[in-house]
Symmetry: C2
Subunit: 371 residues, 2 copies
């Protein structure tokens, strides 16, 4: 968590910076300083600007959004979502980031000089070097006194459920899937989120790929017949399973494949055994990801019954269907850890990122006052 | 099998064509006419030129190769091997095909006018439209009396084991995998060969992807510890399983991942349970592909004990290791079909394609003489 900004002599650093840090106190415990929270997604980048509240007690829920801006993709690489869309170069991604922040500040009636902290939640942060690379972009934009934080997007998603507090576990299952958790003492752990090559079978992509495989296997005599065949061929306007091969190769983007999840759920709801088995396996895989994190962090306490939140995020978990994947996953987790309680995101991920920054600031301020 | 050339008025058709078809008979039963066999692989295209023997009894084994040429990739799409290399446009692929045939003819001391039949075996032929598209290229090159055949590369591989006869089954397991079979009456069937998205788990890619997944699962607490971790990290010069995520995304070509199969075999040979399970599952998947084809074609006859060849092709089956995947697959097939007997390729795939053309010609000639 030591992702602080560092001083640098780069001439690109925004010069509209305050020198004296003399901020006016507003009546609500905030001053004119702001926090930027950014959700660096694969199709868009969202930036929100919230006021810097100086006392932890005065943080309104939900926090006031001074400004919000949306831009294109700022993802520095393809990790976790899809390798087949065109990704921006690092320069283009950095430019996108800078633009979306400028717009959010402008909409807030604020400017670069007011920025006190920035938190960017972005997929593809799997290794300290990923984090360092993106921090370097931000360091080029901001002067050294600005606090900078870069986190995996799952951490911002957790914060968007816990309103900034890093405790408990988040499970994301959309096109991809990941589980990420924090213990009260700051230890963190993750499971899955490695992409389809590395077996994220509980993801939307994983579920749909297994369904497509089942159709091929039924067709060539390796597997049982299934409703999935007609359902999927109809959804894709294809006339034969043979054509699925060409279909997957025509555009192997993961999101395009993951979009077939509702067809799989429909077949399971109609009691198709093949579809049901695919969903049951996905439920077990997703629950296992959470259980692995809970176990490594001892989130369940000494007696195994300790209470902790599980933030449930993503289209696979939120589909609200009769065959409810999210509900089944939670049931499976609670069989082992009865203290696990599901919560939904309270705010959007960009706000989660801003709350995260605020939380880090409060923690540092407490640590400093104790030292 | 009605992939005959058709007449066309295209000015690109090679004009050095004989008008009268007056060919000199050689002493060995051949005349000056030739057959071109082409193996259109993903990294190279091989073309061989063999003499046209007019009688089936006089075909020498192995057949004399008049000329052989190698060129770049002529694969019209990415199906079956890897989506991540740069594929030529259709025009470039057609040009490559034409060049490699011209070179083989030139090396044979022959020319376009001597070509009597052409057979191209190419991966990515999964649907009649694929076949038709490639036939159209060849139709633009050759005059209408030249017999043209386009087949999935698995069919040419079968012919390279059976010396042109289309009977039995071929199992290819390299980077990808496919099973393809023919009954004596000409019926054909295939299984697998749909690519990694569609679950070719017995392929080299499938085996290695499962091994990489096992390393990730051991690392994040979802699976048992395995020797695969150290073995694979060492092979890739990585220091932590976290780095595998970046490694797979840096270049997700299937061949690069499939290259890890020897590491999996080594771990299985050292009795690692995770690696052993991956190989056992791959063996079952590969055997199932063959069994599905055998069953659909009734290759085993009425009593289930009928004899038929299984041509075993590809690095996964031919590794010649103590843990012998090919041997285990064959054992698994023979448990159900004792008449299955393994054979290896006798000639290279391009020669298999040429023999296939010769076989088609003989069949048509027999059919014509009976009609």
């Amino acid at each position: 968590m030591n992702n602080y900004g560092e001083s640098n002599g780069d001439s690109n650093v925004h010069e509209k910076q305050v020198e004296g840090h003399d901020h006016c106190e507003n009546g609500d415990g905030s001053d004119n300083r702001v926090i930027l929270g950014i959700d660096g997604g694969t199709t868009s980048t969202v930036c929100v600007c919230i006021p810097l509240f100086s006392s932890s007690k005065s943080l309104p829920n939900p926090p006031p959004i001074l400004g919000r801006a949306v831009s294109g993709c700022s993802n520095h690489n393809s990790v976790g979502v899809t390798v087949h869309v065109s990704y921006p170069t690092e320069t283009a991604a950095r430019d996108t980031l800078e633009e979306v922040m400028a717009e959010a500040l402008s909409k807030s009636g604020s400017d670069w000089s007011a920025v006190h902290a920035v938190c960017l939640g972005v997929s593809g942060v799997n290794h300290p070097t990923d984090q360092e690379r993106i921090l370097n972009w931000l360091r080029e934009i901001f002067p050294s006194h600005v606090k900078l934080y870069v986190q995996n997007d799952a951490v911002a998603a957790l914060a968007s459920g816990t309103m900034g507090k890093l405790h408990g576990c988040v499970l994301i299952a959309g096109t991809g899937c990941i589980s990420y958790g924090f213990a009260e003492d700051g230890r963190e752990a993750r499971a899955s989120g490695a992409g389809p090559v590395l077996g994220d079978w509980g993801s939307g992509y994983g579920i749909a790929a297994k369904a497509l495989t089942a159709v091929i296997r039924a067709h060539d005599g390796r597997g049982p017949q299934t409703m999935l065949t007609n359902k999927i061929l109809k959804a894709l306007s294809l006339s034969s399973p043979d054509e699925l091969i060409g279909w997957t190769y025509a555009d192997p983007s993961w999101a395009r494949i993951a979009a077939l999840v509702p067809e799989v759920v429909s077949c399971a709801e109609a009691c198709d055994q093949v579809a049901t088995k695919i969903l049951v396996n996905a439920v077990q895989d997703l629950a296992l990801s959470v259980k692995a994190v809970v176990q490594r962090l001892h989130l369940c306490g000494e007696d195994g019954n300790g209470s902790f939140p599980v933030v449930m995020v993503g289209g696979v978990l939120e589909a609200n269907r009769t065959w409810d994947i999210g509900k089944e996953v939670m049931k499976c987790i609670q069989e082992q850890f009865p203290g696990a309680h599901p919560i939904r995101q309270q705010v959007e991920p960009a706000v989660g990122a801003a709350l995260l920054a605020w939380n880090f600031l409060m923690k540092e301020s407490t640590e400093n006052s104790h030292s």
